[in-house]
Amino acid sequence: MTDACGELLSPPTDLARLLTETRPRLIRLAVKMVWNRDDAEEIVQEAFRLALRDRPGSSHDSTTAVVLTSWLWRTVTNLCLNHRRRRRPELDNAALATAHARTPHNTLVATEELGRLRDAIETLPDQQRVALVLKTMEQMEYPRIAQIMQITESAVRAHVHQARQKLMRLLGGDGNES
């Protein structure tokens, strides 16, 4: 993945290449926010349209890849939040079970646990949910998340901490002493 590179891009070819390379990860992020593959794809397409229209970070016909990728992650996140405000995610546990069965964790974590966890995540405030998803599901480092969310690193840590605490309270004794 090229999201950490600081190379200068010469439009339009490199920009198109960067968008193509980044697309799968952005769709995975969007699915974790809206829980619908088609909606996630449309959100990422909209982000790309905005990127191609506005050329974020562009200067003298060149765009820094790291600026653009941060912008893309941030834009997809915001579009997901907007989408969630318009339409609450439809949490289909049958589809989640089907997907979970295809992961290596299906014997370690019960599908019912995932359903309850997803329900609990839905109750988190937006900032906490975004920080938690980026940290624990996308395995991003705190400075990178801070860059995407445009808040301080300590604020990101606080959001992740609060999200974890709230989830543990909501999930109660799930997995306790297991």
Binding site: E21, R23, W35, R49, R102, V109, M137
Partner: protein, 175 residues
């Protein structure tokens, strides 16, 4: 001796694998003698595992589209939109089969043209809604299942006049 109030705030750093060596030693010593903190850290660990599992399940959804739409397309889209989509796809297919007069697509976003032979291999041609605008979405086959090559065109600029015989620069591909 470290008490529970000093140990439990270490949970985040422990989950993030960013404890110092001395903190780790202190934590392990405390957990060895404190049932309550041991149970607390087990719950933290369990939550971390569940989050990873949920993320992996989401990745499967992203790659396979396992999660269905909340409503079937025919119930979500207005009839005129479906009719327009069918008409546009049919038009695109007809244009793709014309010999000697390759269709000229004016890409809305890319500064290159889609070669006619590429359109012939498209795995999907549909109307995509981006915000309030509609685009013709052409999905091209990709050797890598994780890579989706999708081109967007504004349907209204779809023109049938003959293009030059020179092939466009083509869709972006990955090495």
């Amino acid at each position: 001796m470290t008490n529970c109030h000093d140990i439990q705030p270490l949970a985040d750093d422990w989950l993030d694998d960013s404890l110092t060596a001395s903190q780790r030693t202190e934590l392990e010593a405390h957990l060895a003698r404190c049932d309550a903190c041991r149970a607390f850290f087990r719950r933290c660990e369990r939550l971390a595992m569940q989050l990873v599992a949920l993320g992996d399940a989401a990745n499967v959804v992203a790659e396979t589209g396992a999660a269905p739409r909340t409503l079937p397309l025919w119930r979500r889209a207005a009839p005129w939109r479906i009719a327009a989509a069918i008409a546009l796809v049919a038009t695109a297919g007809w244009l793709a089969t014309r010999v000697g007069t390759p269709p000229r697509f004016a890409p809305s976003n890319m500064n290159s043209e889609l070669p006619r032979e590429s359109l012939g291999t498209a795995s999907e041609v549909r109307i995509a809604m981006l915000g309030k605008a509609e685009y013709l979405q052409v999905r091209l086959p990709s050797a890598d299942p994780h890579v989706h090559i999708v081109w967007l065109y504004e349907p209204m600029v779809l023109a049938a006049e003959p293009a030059s015989n020179e092939a466009g620069s083509g869709p972006p591909t990955l090495n």
